[in-house]
């Protein structure tokens, strides 16, 4: 439906977007995930038409809309600071886009009630927006951008200015609302938990490029690059010294031992989800000592040290572990990921 091709953008001689291409299906929610400064907001603003790309095209349903002005795109954008119109009440804010479409007063009122109901703010209709709490303002902003039935809805860190507890609850609500409205959405965030909760697919961005695009589970279980792994908090990235080929497979030689991988790589990730501590001798198990144990409620985060000094982090549910030096770490073959 929405198709970006080779979008380039430079600010003051610094490249911000280095040729980004992306394809989004109707009704899909795609998250642009990345650290600040990776270009995700700029990409969003180019799609919205608030910025112009130096080169590249934005296509919507096969139509080139690269040079269509913002207000004629029928897109929606929800801003991080919500950008509510402070001189209008909730109802007027939500009705603004419908008025711009010259909808009849009756239709406008009906649609406003509808979306306010969808976000659960129907009783707040006549309140000044300045008197709402952060969470309520967020819902007004969402209702306002949904009201005119945008062809694509973009959300720029819409939960960024809320506190952690509220953020967690609202991100689940947000997915439900977006799915109920059956809207094609692009969601920008730097918070992986938020992205996991909301997205159908996540595009991880780094330094003006998309590193990997995949559904949340696949992204987490099988990150494609060192950056993606590290950004998702997967720290067990081990440099590979040499790679040798045996039959159709490859062997990565590292300080922790040799690991079988299915393609040559310069790093391997030992995924904590597939790691387990074992007591008996198993072939390929890595001798480690437990140096730190952090209680996280449902599980423990264990920091293990190999004799080479390399630290590995794994998650375990086992409760009765003490800091000992003679432990062994076993990694399921599925958890050895070439990067």
């Amino acid at each position: 439906m929405l198709h970006l091709e080779h979008i380039l953008k430079t600010y003051d001689h610094t490249p911000v977007l280095k040729g980004v291409s992306l394809e989004i299906a109707p009704g899909e929610i795609v998250c642009l995930l990345g650290p600040s400064g990776c270009g995700k907001t700029t990409l969003l603003r180019i799609i919205a038409g608030l910025e112009t790309a130096d080169s590249g095209t934005v296509m919507l349903n096969g139509e080139d809309i690269t040079h269509v002005p913002v207000h004629q795109r029928d897109f929606g954008l929800m801003f991080q600071d919500f950008a509510l119109f402070p001189h209008m009440n909730v109802e007027k804010n939500v009705a603004f886009g419908l008025e711009m479409q010259h909808k009849s007063r009756q239709d406008t009122r009906k649609r406003v009630d509808e979306v306010l109901g969808l976000v659960g703010l129907a009783p707040f209709k006549n309140r000044p927006v300045t008197e709402l709490s952060g969470g309520e303002q967020q819902r007004v902003a969402l209702a306002r951008s949904l009201a005119p039935n945008p062809r694509v809805l973009m959300l720029d860190e819409p939960l960024g200015s809320l506190d952690a507890a509220l953020r967690e609850r609202l991100s689940v609500d947000l997915r439900d609302i977006l799915k109920a409205a059956n809207v094609t959405a692009i969601y920008v965030t730097h918070d992986q938990q938020e992205a996991f909760a909301i997205a159908d697919r996540i595009a991880v961005m780094n330094a003006g490029q998309i590193e990997q695009i995949a559904p949340p589970e696949q992204l987490y279980l099988c990150p494609g690059t060192v950056f993606v792994a590290r950004f998702l908090g997967l720290e067990n990235v081990i440099p590979v010294d040499t790679v040798t080929q045996t039959d159709s497979r490859y062997v990565a030689h590292t300080v922790l031992g040799n690991f079988l991988i299915d393609r040559p790589a310069r790093h391997i990730l030992l995924h904590p989800v597939y790691a387990s501590l074992v007591s008996e001798e198993i072939e390929g198990a890595i001798p480690v000592k437990l140096v730190k144990k952090v209680f996280q409620g449902s599980q423990y985060e264990l920091t293990l040290q190999h004799e080479s000094g390399i630290l590995l982090v794994v998650l375990q549910k086992t409760r009765n572990l003490s800091l000992r030096s003679d432990m062994r770490l076993h990694i399921d073959p599925k958890g050895i990921i070439p990067l």
Binding site: L50, H71, Q72, G76, L77, F79, A83, F85, Q101, P148
Partner: protein, 562 residues
């Protein structure tokens, strides 16, 4: 036990100290004001509306009233008409020399009225360089421009004066308006014009109205500009009050006119302060640096250039004309003789002092005014920064001397401070006291925001670390407000140097200030007198400009408050 009693005594002493500015206002502002009321409403002890009836029934006064109102309205309209587009340019575009230009544009605001009036005579009067040029180019026998004593020159001077005030208020508010809000409207399908009409303009309205109220107030109470540029033909209320009281000694009429003037400015002041409070409600405000950008398209560049040209012409033409005339008046080409004459004792004058003595008088007065207003103004700011209902109510009270025009203050002084125990009529101190009344509110306005900006937690942190009340003040608070005090002090000094309205009532004839000497020169015939008025104006302008540069360097933000 003993310690707590000492603490209690200190606390009461502190409270007492905080009340001195209020006492000062009571004696030197409200008491004279009360007398004016009494003169106008009950000249013989009985309630008597004769003075008011006379004002509203006699065509002469009705005309004065009408003229005062419509010239102020027209000046306001013209000022905003020019300043609004410029405010757009300053809020939205980044261009080289922007902050310097904005600083220069504010110079007129600190220029004394007599200087501005003189500058406009130098620019557009009969002897102006512009006339000379036009005569040469079009080979005319007579100077084509006769703008002295015309309404046009009064309006121009008012625009010159207030342009930067409106520009600053509107553009600073505009530049803080979040770009996101406009983008949000665009995303919802609003065209550029729609965004301006439905979003930008309504959100700017408080700033525009506040600017209008302030400019109207300044123009309504215009004295020096109208007195010098209007001649006998045009008189505002202020000029009329001066005339009625000092020339006709008709105190009831002057009093009644003062009351009408006071009521009008009071309404404007209330409108202004209310809107200003609205404007400080932070709503999606963002740093102005994010909003301003370089002009990109040719239309944008042209718009920017047009505004900058209008602005430069308006601001620099009179200033440059004043300087140019002061060195070239007469037929001899470049000359410094008018500056040299300032040191000579003009034997034909009864008041036998060299004009240069006025400079010393003004400096002396300004020195005392600075000290008085910093002390009283800072104390008042402390009083107002307390979060009690009493101080919230007091806030506008301390702004009142700004609303009451200088002429009303001066008039109040001469009718009240002439008998014991307050027989100050011929005292040296009457001028510094009158000036302090005008300058103190400026110090309050400078210091109060930074005092309010000090978070209570900072003081608490210091207290927990063992600092006493005095140490907290000396080591924490004072360093945080020093800059604003310095800004206020410079304001006070500059205002005192240029004050004309009150001084023209209370200054002793043998100790005139610079503005009074300039006015006297302008009233006397001959090139020599005119030349000396120009020279004196240039000197006064230099002093005020220097003060202004200091204020700008100390704190760019404070001026945005007015």
């Amino acid at each position: 036990m003993d310690r707590s009693r000492t603490a209690l005594i200190w606390r009461y002493a502190g409270r007492g100290l905080l009340l001195t500015p209020l006492l000062f206002l009571l004696v030197f502002f409200f008491y004279p004001l009360g007398s004016i009321l009494q003169f106008s409403l009950a000249p013989d002890g009985k309630l008597d509306f004769a003075a008011f009836q006379q004002i509203f029934s006699r065509p002469y006064y009705r005309e004065t009233l009408w003229f005062t109102t419509w010239q102020a309205a027209l000046s306001t309209l013209l000022t905003l008409g020019l300043a609004f587009p410029a405010a757009h340019v300053f809020a939205k575009y980044q261009f080289p020399g922007k902050s310097l230009l904005l600083a220069l544009a504010t110079i007129p605001f600190v220029l004394p009225t007599v200087v501005v009036a003189t500058a406009f005579i130098a620019l557009l009067g009969e002897d102006s360089a512009l006339n000379g040029l036009l005569m040469k180019v079009f080979k005319l026998e007579e100077p084509p421009l006769h703008l002295e004593r015309s309404l046009k020159i009064i309006l121009l001077a008012h625009i010159f004066y207030n342009y930067a005030v409106a520009l600053r208020i509107i553009s600073s508010f505009w530049s803080n308006q979040s770009q996101r809000i406009q983008e949000a409207a665009q995303m919802l399908g609003a065209s550029r014009w729609m965004v301006f009409y439905r979003i930008t303009l309504p959100l700017l309205l408080p700033a525009v109205t506040a600017a209008a109220a302030l400019v109207f107030m300044f123009c309504f109470t215009s004295f020096g500009v109208v007195r010098i540029l209007g001649g006998l033909k045009y008189a505002t209320l202020e000029v009329e009050i001066h005339y009625q009281s000092l020339s006709l000694f008709d105190l009831p009429t002057a009093g009644a006119l003062s009351v009408i003037q006071l009521m009008t400015t009071l309404v404007m002041m209330i409108v202004y302060t209310n809107l200003q409070r609205q404007m400080t409600q932070p709503l999606n405000l963002q740093s102005s640096r994010q909003v301003a950008r370089k002009p990109r398209r040719w239309a944008e560049k042209g718009w920017l250039a047009l505004n900058l040209i209008v602005m430069s012409l308006l601001i620099f033409a009179p200033i440059l004309a004043l300087i140019e005339r002061s060195f070239t008046l007469g037929d001899g080409g470049f000359t410094t003789r008018y500056y040299e004459q300032l040191q000579e004792n003009p034997h034909r004058s009864i008041r036998a002092v060299a004009p240069v003595a006025a400079i010393q008088n003004s400096l002396e007065y300004a020195f005392f005014v600075t000290i008085f207003s910093v002390l009283l103004g800072t104390l008042a700011a402390y009083l107002l920064s307390q979060k009690t209902r009493f101080s919230r109510w007091l806030d506008p009270v301390f702004m009142l001397p700004l609303a009451a025009s200088a002429v009303t203050l001066g008039f109040g002084f001469i009718i009240t401070l002439d008998e014991p125990p307050l027989n100050l009529r011929s005292s040296y101190w009457i001028v510094p006291i009158a000036h302090t009344l005008v300058a103190m509110p400026l110090v309050v306005r400078s210091v109060l925001p930074s005092l309010r900006a000090i978070k209570p937690s900072i003081g608490e942190a210091a207290a927990v670390l063992g600092a006493s009340r005095w140490q907290r003040w000396r080591r924490i608070e004072l360093p945080l407000i020093t800059r604003s005090i310095a800004v206020g002090a410079t304001f006070a000094f500059t205002v005192s140097m240029g004050e004309f309205g009150a001084s023209s009532f209370v200054a002793r004839p043998n100790q005139p200030t610079i503005p009074i000497v300039i006015f006297r020169f302008l009233g006397q015939p001959g090139l020599a007198n005119y030349g000396q008025a120009l020279a004196m104006s240039v000197i006064l302008m230099a002093v005020c400009a220097a003060g202004f540069v200091l204020i700008e360097r100390l704190n760019r933000a404070v001026i945005g408050e007015f």
